[in-house]
């Protein structure tokens, strides 16, 4: 299948990319890895007149960290994120999710920021980033703004980005030693597959294993990947017992509004929310205990 015709613009900086994007508005799209965009173009689901290629802008493919935060640049590939030692240490669910997204070739080209901007409900990296309280740094021609990731997703393929805006980087607060996190996915084919359901959890506990902060997010079971705030509140201030897990799973089930599609039925997805929430919470706690 051939690509439709387009003009290819090469900005020298992200700033310039914003200016180009502001100028061409809906007629332009940003290309980083291209693993989602080019396929959509071939299938004619999007037909931009301008492609703004940002992949060669210097110093945008970074993963930085200081003693407080870790930052993922716009061009950091899924492979980079999966293999980064700091991410593996502080954000193991993200490292794992990036490493099981699609295939090796796609992970080498595709970016984590692109995975988020594509805003697929089933994006592997979305739920881990949600449970790590990720902030999205958005650049526009006049400056920058920051948005919490759970306010970023607005619908399937729809984000909070406005005309002339691009995502510069993702900022994740480092997790503590007394935390554990986990990503669970299930799909019809056992390996190398898109998630039919994905669930992430991140628990912080005190020295008595009382949960001080809980994060729980579900993917591919609603129009957007989303946190289960009510379940998080229920978990906080308590110890992770069988009964508490039951409650969290039940609340998550209520929050899930899956559809039946080519990948799974709604009833199977609902069941998997239940199973994966339990697994993600248990695995997070086991990780804490193993530290």
């Amino acid at each position: 299948m051939a690509l439709p015709k387009f003009s290819y613009l090469i900005p020298k900086s992200l700033k310039e990319a914003c200016i180009m994007l502001a100028e061409h508005e809906d007629k332009a799209r940003i290309l980083a890895g291209g693993t989602d965009l080019l396929i959509k173009m071939k299938h004619r689901t999007v037909q931009p007149e301008y492609i703004i290629g940002i992949s060669n802008i210097p110093n945008t493919d970074y993963v930085h960290s200081n003693h407080k935060h870790l930052t993922i640049g716009a061009n950091a590939s899924l492979t980079m994120v999966a293999q980064n030692p700091d991410i593996q240490r502080y954000f193991p669910a993200l490292a794992y999710a990036a490493g099981v997204t699609a295939t090796v070739q796609i992970r080498n080209m595709g970016t984590v920021v692109g995975n988020i901007c594509n805003a697929s409900p089933s994006a592997d990296t979305a739920t881990p980033l949600l449970v790590y309280d990720t902030k999205v740094v958005i650049m526009h021609p006049a400056g920058e703004r920051t948005l919490a990731l759970d306010e970023f997703f607005r619908g399937p393929g729809v984000t909070a980005l406005e005309s002339g805006e691009i995502v510069k980087e993702l900022v994740l607060p480092l997790t503590s030693d007394r935390s554990g996190s986990n990503y669970q996915k299930v799909s019809p084919r056992s390996k190398v597959d898109i998630a039919a359901v994905g669930v992430s959890a991140c628990l912080h506990v005190d020295e008595k294993e009382t949960i001080t902060q809980a994060r729980l997010a579900i993917g591919a079971v609603a129009p957007v990947p989303k946190r289960v705030l009510h379940a998080e509140k229920t978990l906080e201030g308590k110890k992770l017992t069988e009964e508490l897990i039951n409650q969290a799973a039940e609340i998550s089930l209520d929050e899930a509004t899956p559809i039946s599609d080519t990948r799974a039925t709604a009833s199977y997805r609902k069941k998997m929310v239940d199973v994966l929430v339990r697994r993600a919470l248990n695995a997070s706690m086991e990780q804490i205990r193993a530290k």
């Binding site: 299930v186 056992s190 080519t262």
Partner: protein, 777 residues
Amino acid sequence: MNNKQNPALNQKVSGPYTQKSVVGRSVPRIDAPDKARGAAQYTADMKLPGMLYGKLLRSPVPHARIKNIDISKAAAFPGVKDVITGKDTPGIKYGNWRLFPQTQDEYPLAMDKVRFIGDEVAAVAAIDPDIAEEAISLIHVEYDELPAVFSIDEALAQDAPLIHDDIDQLEGNISIDRNIDVGDIDKAFDKADLILDDKFTLHAVSHAYLEPCAALAQPDVEGRLILWTSTQAPYIIQCLLASTLGLPENHVRVIKPHVGGGFGGKMELRSWEFCAAFMAKRTGRPVKFVLTRAEELSTGRTRHAMNIRSKVGFKKDGTIVAKDFEAYLDGGAYNSMGPTATFLCGNFGAMLYRYPAYRYRGYHVYTNKTPAGAMRGFGAPQALYVTETQMNIAAKELNIDPIDLRIKNAMVTGDTIEGVTKISSAGFVESLQKVAEMSKWKEKRASLPNNKGIGIGCYSFISGGVFNWFNTPYNFAACEVRAYDDGTAHLLTMASDIGQGSDTVLRQILAEALGIKVENIRVTSADTAMTPKADLGTWGSRVTLMNGNAILDAANKIKEKLAQMVSIKYNLNIIHEVAFANDRAFAKAKPERGISFGEAVAMWVKTHRGEELTARGYYTPRDKGLTTPAYSFGAQVAEVAVDPDTGVVTVEKVTTAHDCGTVINPMSVEGQLEGALHMGLGYALSEQFVIRDGKVLNTTFLDYKIPAAEDMPQIESYTIETYEKEGPFGAKEAGEGLAIPTAPAIAHAVYDATGYRCKDLPITPEKILRATGKITE
């Protein structure tokens, strides 16, 4: 093992050919270096000067009359060189069953009606592929939509619309049926202590060959054509293309370049082959079509979905007394290879075991879906999924080990299949015994933990068909062998290597027969103008046996001539046999009396005043019964782990013991086994079409889920060597049969692990969770 019920089993199976030099060796593939370097040319890689790019317009509706087609905008679009619709073509129907013309139900382009979403309506040839695609979108078609049917039940309903109302012989949507009656079925069931009566639904799957279909046609000034095409059957394409164009057969030359897999999906003339040729003639320029993966998955041929009802009777001791087998095949909009699948499904319903009474009723039903055709196993995977699952149910009910139950009923060498043939070799019991030993069957069945399971499935398959529905007047397989004074030989054959390795295996057979090195044989294959007539193609697992026999025929003729040379040179007594080995021709009993192969050829050429030494060889199975000259057999054990909460099945290990007669090339057989297992895995677990109102929704490999490399289990295999007297050096098929046992073996293992007995393929996580009560809503 001593088998008291069945004394024929106690004989040792072995063959007389033990001193072979090339046959039995893992000779590397002749095509491997080019493929590894990316140098192999497939049809899509080819470019000719002035070449145009073709694109098809397909129907967006499942069933409609075409009221009007307006091509004016497309034809006027800059860069477009030709636009055709059905009305521009000679309007000649085609189909592979030439013996029964009423089954030939397809036009190259729709004439007045479309019958499925994807039916070909018009074609464009343009100077580049983008223009062709753009022009396609400018063709305006007015459809008068008709009611459509998407299932066997809908198609057979009283008031169902007639899909082929232009075929006089048809009253409803059943295009062909087949009956088999052996013994008195009702009386036979009276002897049964246990009767199983089960309904199964088997689903359609894609061949998913890695090379999508492609064709390139080049015209010459006298109106002849060359067609390069990704095909399994150049001769069939040549004949049917010529007849649909209204040309003499030999004005069409079909050449098969490298082909990236077929699995049954590339053995018929298809619309784009016709359109490439027809538009090449009209424009005087080469025209190429390359299909997209989305076209392949949404409109390509598939394996037949079937509804099967099977009733089997057993005595308490496990002896089968009768089987009543009824199959409805969801044929889609056209016959394609459906009649053959209907025939073979019936034959395979009665294979593997001895059935004193057997009744088959098979019906091929038109629906408004993509046509199903031939696919690896050709009716047998469905029939044997049912057979093998019922054997496992019976074993449970009768409290007999499933392998013991099979051995008790197993077909053996010399058994007669009534009305069909006598089985000339069968290593089935040996396969069962070996697979039980290798997989530690009994120990594991007794000791596997919860959520793990072990299961068995078996198969038999044909080594080529003896049927001639194509109605060729020529031999089924033919070749020419040219022997040269430099000690080399040239094999010319219409046999089609489509990735299965026939160029290599046929070269081995000729090298073995002539006693020369495999490297000293050049192969020219699958060019209808350059290789002897004819060859029905690569399907039905026929190539090794049929072309191998044709090669032996030619080699024997060559050797007879060279034997004369040795005999004259050494003044051999008439009782001496002349042998051929190590690049020499010599008196068998006195090897020092001999000359090199090249010298022998030189002598023959000298004594014939410069004539080239060539021989033609042929093979047609005559007096070989109704189905095939030889059957393969095998048994496979699968071990699975099932996640009880998600229902996800992991196949951990698969063990196979199988009888393909003499193994010509062990590495190739291993490749066939692993490839077949991969297909069987997908058929069992992950591959299916999601279809809504006749429209396929999963048209990419993201959502049509063939197993990934990581999904492959640990594989162990063993070949039981029998000697098949009808096969070259004792060989039988190893191509399609192995794709059969994996699904029933996995299903049995899943039952062992979870208690879920799958009668509705594929085995999805959700079905398992519903069966185990984990999902109730």
